[in-house]
Amino acid sequence: MIVSLALILLAQLLGEVVAHGSGLPVPGPVLGAVLMFGFLLVRDRYHRSAERMLPKPLVQGELEGTAKGLLAHLSLMFVPAGVGIVGRLDVLAANGLALAVVLLVSVVLTLSATALTFVAVSRLVRPRRPDETA
């Protein structure tokens, strides 16, 4: 658990360093995720050396378990920021109803447009055989 967490934090730290160093408009943790993805690719590509050189938790599934454990409670992590809006409801009170309608309608339109486009395009693409899509 600690080894896995250390690797996750290390990826985030490197991500932050790259994000701030390069001035890219990408958050550090997102770059950290890219690095983690790269780590997993390399680990499984050189499976034998990885088993010899890396700590066991990183090759025997514990890393995956830790990551999924974090994601299972993603909801919890939004609570502190969410509580912040309770104190800012005054901002909304001024434009209350109009703003609420705009937000809700926009969210409904966005969800519908995105999901329907995904389904429609995947139907268009599907007739091709998997070996032809490469």
């Binding site: 991500g15 999924k68 992590m77 939004f78 509580v83 309608v105 969210v107």
Partner: protein, 238 residues
């Protein structure tokens, strides 16, 4: 009496109390959500937020004091974002096969999110400051605040609107897509992550790992695309 009061004053100033309140509120909300079979209206974030907010209100605790305790939970958002790489890696074959529908849905979704918010806000006669703060509302908080700050808007207002969008999206997504008869979990997850960033992603992971994976991808890609589109669209409508 004064002894009890002193203890209360001491406790409200330590991270322990507010960390505990946050976790307990979440556990209660999570149990409720489970008991209702993950009903969209029983969204654990929504209910944990108002319960915690109520405790703060009743005790007259300022948000910064609360955040000293809650920051430990808040901090985990970073590592959790890194952790998104794991389900993405495990399902990379499925994701790769859906590349074309994903990119199409990304472009249509990002443009819809942005233009619908801006045009509706203007139609309702909301001020330009609010229109700017509203434009990147479907994007994850940190990125949205960055976009608005660069345009000279109010990032705090953006943070509030982003959170509200996330909560609304997480609550609405399942019933809406049932109504539209979208059964494809990849499409459902992708829409949730695109329209409602991390909160949509959290909701998608409640439903299935596949939906969660696609939500995470949508959240990341939309942050990138919206950051480029916002200045463009706001330039057009100004």
């Amino acid at each position: 009496m004064t002894g009890e009061f002193a203890l209360w004053v001491y406790l409200t100033r330590t991270p322990l109390l507010w960390l505990t309140v946050t976790l307990v509120a979440y556990v209660v909300a999570e149990r409720f959500s489970e008991a209702t079979g993950r009903h969209p209206l029983a969204n654990p974030v929504l209910h944990a937020i108002w319960m915690t907010g109520l405790v703060l209100k009743l005790t007259g605790t300022p948000y910064p004091t609360y955040f000293q305790g809650a920051q430990f939970v808040h901090f985990l958002l970073g590592p959790a974002t890194v952790a998104l790489a794991v389900p993405l890696y495990e399902r990379r074959a499925v994701v790769l096969r859906a590349l074309v529908p994903m990119l199409a849905a990304l472009v249509v979704g990002a443009v819809t999110a942005l233009t619908s918010a801006v045009l509706l806000a203007r139609a309702f006669g909301l001020s330009h400051g609010i229109v700017v703060a509203l434009a990147p509302k479907s994007v994850t908080t940190g990125v949205a605040m960055g976009i608005v700050e660069a345009l000279g808007g109010d990032p705090t207002l953006t943070a509030v609107l982003v959170m509200l969008t996330g909560v609304a999206g997480a609550v609405v997504v399942s019933p809406l897509l049932n109504l539209l008869r979208v059964k494809d979990l990849r499409a459902r997850g992708f829409a949730a992550g695109l329209a409602a960033h991390g909160l949509g992603t959290a909701r998608a992971f409640q439903v299935s790992d596949v939906a969660g994976t696609f939500a995470g991808i949508a959240m990341g890609l939309n942050a990138f695309l919206t950051a480029m589109l916002v200045p463009l669209v706001l330039g057009l409508v100004k």
